[in-house]
Subunit: 396 residues, 2 copies
């Protein structure tokens, strides 16, 4: 396997982007990645697009073919990759393996989703199409519904408290306020979110015990990364970031079939595969983007990837260990919670944010000092198809 590097990254601000089509967003993010790498008129060999549901949101297919034409990258090969909200992680994997195999040298991986094209409940329904088609979807379960039940079990089993969840929400929205690409730029405090007399209005229950501010917004957005063999990466202007590790694992489609529904086996397995490939251990990671579609998932993921023991993730968050400046900064970008979660874009956006961290290119208030290794967890289904990506700053 050839070593593969990321030599260019780009993103558009997540949020409600009525002015853009899905293709507009994918093209803007991709052009930024190509420009960032200094590609000029040099073409690419292949394009991968991570997208979950353009068929349902836009009544449109063959998005990757559209993008390659739109960017004048013809005759580059083009494929769309779908793995629910981990479509971005899966698209990066296929770009990685295509370059690693030696078949392609320059591969653009873009992820994007335009979810605000439909009204709120319809977006929730489209996302729910990833649930089990016989035993979950027909009974009206949604992802927030699953997350609510998961949170309750986690609270009962591990003593996670409402205060721990709120701490994650406050941390991530505060960081979103510093991130020019974030959907949610409004910092919130414990007073407003938790104890104010207007709490019921400002932060109503969404899926008990999860409140509105425990959930990511429904967003439009796109992000892109450009890959090439590590040995060619040094010719390009940006410090190359090595894709040191990748892992992916599946778990039972239906949540009810898991022996212990609080055990996110696919997260554990995917991260173990990535650590093994990178020859790193959890304590070697300096910055992480963990799929926090719900606040509980940041806590649970931080345990399943080995940062904290089971039951210790919430306490670590409460103690400030996962803040910027703490020993294990998580979702410094604001995470899905504040950057937003245009499903197909998220896995690619996580990689973009880690690349900026590992280049040491961010303003001081967002930069993890001297970050060398970053980990991203992109969570498909309700943890039934998870990707883990480890990026490493290349020593010059």
């Amino acid at each position: 396997m050839r070593d593969v590097a990321i030599i260019g990254v780009g993103m558009v601000q997540f949020g409600r982007r009525d002015e853009d089509t899905l293709l507009d967003m994918l093209a803007k993010a991709s052009l930024r990645a190509l420009d960032d790498a200094g590609m000029g008129d040099r073409g690419v060999d292949a394009v991968y697009v991570g997208n979950m549901a353009a068929g349902m949101f836009q009544h449109q297919s063959s998005i990757a073919s559209s993008l390659v034409d739109r960017l004048s990258l013809l005759p580059a090969a083009a494929d769309t990759v779908e793995n629910g909200p981990a479509s971005g992680g899966s698209a990066i994997k296929n770009g990685l393996l295509a370059v690693a195999s030696g078949y392609y040298d320059y591969v653009l991986v873009a992820g994007g989703e335009k979810m605000r094209e439909v009204t709120g409940w319809r977006a929730t329904d489209v996302v729910a199409t990833m649930s089990h088609p016989q035993v979950e979807y027909p009974y009206g379960i949604t992802l927030p519904g699953m997350a609510g039940m998961f949170t309750r079990l986690y609270m009962e089993k591990y003593g996670v408290t409402r205060e721990m969840l709120v701490t994650v929400a406050i941390k991530n929205q505060a960081m979103g306020g510093l991130n020019p690409y974030a959907h949610v730029e409004m910092a919130i405090d414990k007073e407003g979110i938790y104890t104010s007399p207007h709490a019921v209005v400002n932060n109503p229950i969404g899926a008990d015990p999860l409140h509105l501010y425990d959930m990511c917004p429904v967003s439009d957005g796109a992000a892109a990364v450009l890959l090439c063999p590590l040995e060619l990466a040094k010719k390009f202007p940006q410090p190359p970031i090595h894709i040191a590790g990748f892992g992916q694992a599946t778990d039972t489609h239906a949540l009810q079939e898991r022996e212990d529904p609080t055990d996110l086996k696919a997260v554990t397995l995917a991260s173990q595969q990535a650590y093994e490939m990178a020859k790193l251990k959890p304590s070697d990671i300096n910055v992480a983007e963990l799929h926090d579609a719900f606040t509980i998932l940041e806590i649970a993921n931080s345990e399943h990837v080995g940062f904290f023991k089971k039951g210790e993730g919430g306490k670590a968050a409460l103690a400030g260990k996962t803040r910027l400046g703490g020993p294990m900064p998580i979702n410094v970008s604001g995470g899905l919670k504040a950057r937003g979660h245009p499903v197909g874009a998220t896995g690619v956006a996580q990689a973009v944010d880690l690349v900026w961290q590992l280049r040491h290119a961010l303003p001081k208030e967002r930069q993890v000092k001297d970050a060398q290794n970053g980990l991203a967890i992109n969570f498909g289904g309700f943890g039934n198809n998870v990707t883990a990506l480890i990026l490493r700053r290349v020593q010059q």
Copy 2:
């Protein structure tokens, strides 16, 4: 790049399969491929599913995650790959590169589509979502409409006649009648299709100058292949078939932007890439599956892959050169025209039929004698994203 082989194949009969869900078909075809390879309880490392539009046809996403669970292949990685009607070809590509890279050893690639779940005009609409979202789809163009215009241009420029098209239809339906997996089992003759007094009823114009029998049916179906490194393939019971060549190329999304719309540049480029990788030339190919969604495409593809000079493909068909027993047998399976065209399944089904040919496993009336090399063309969009696959019988 490691050499990769196909060690197991499976398919369900294409047609109208009301009794099966999409997942049922994918699971049946996959189990046949796993059984064919003698995999027993040995798991696989990853699963790829080629599917164009489960979101629109079934309101369902994350099909690959569903399949891996359904087949008890957890925790294998799982991704869905979409490239319109070339989704199957793209899924095989990503399985191929994943094994070639050394990251995975055993990869199952399944392709499937359930199109008869919606009524006829809606299926045509869903397929049309692959056309250009600004300059084609909103104006009501469909794939049969594009094919009609393409046929007219081809007739004018190269002298293709109605008789040549009919010859292709008769040949492929006759072969479909011999193929137990084919949707259309009814042989037709020139009398019935072309000159009978009931011709208008039996074979009405669909998209002038194309008649009903110039077009593939709308089908349900699934097919699967199992890949592993060639060096491991010899341990398995079936004669291994080497994936000797692969190519993929894109062309302008909008047909109107092509300098010469009769020039299928992506077919030429994709097949050239595949020949180069396989170190073969067109005359080395003994059997071909060429994407004949419309009869004109079999003729045009046979020229663009280099079997015949431009303008000679129709004459070759008329002269019987592309029949079983002729010098260049094309679509001995019945092709899309008769086997059927469940869009996401087609590229994988082409590979399955070629594998059977190269194993010399078919009954005499369908077997190309002593076939050594096979070529498949899977055509996405209207030729704007094309895959080419070359399979080779391994000398024992």
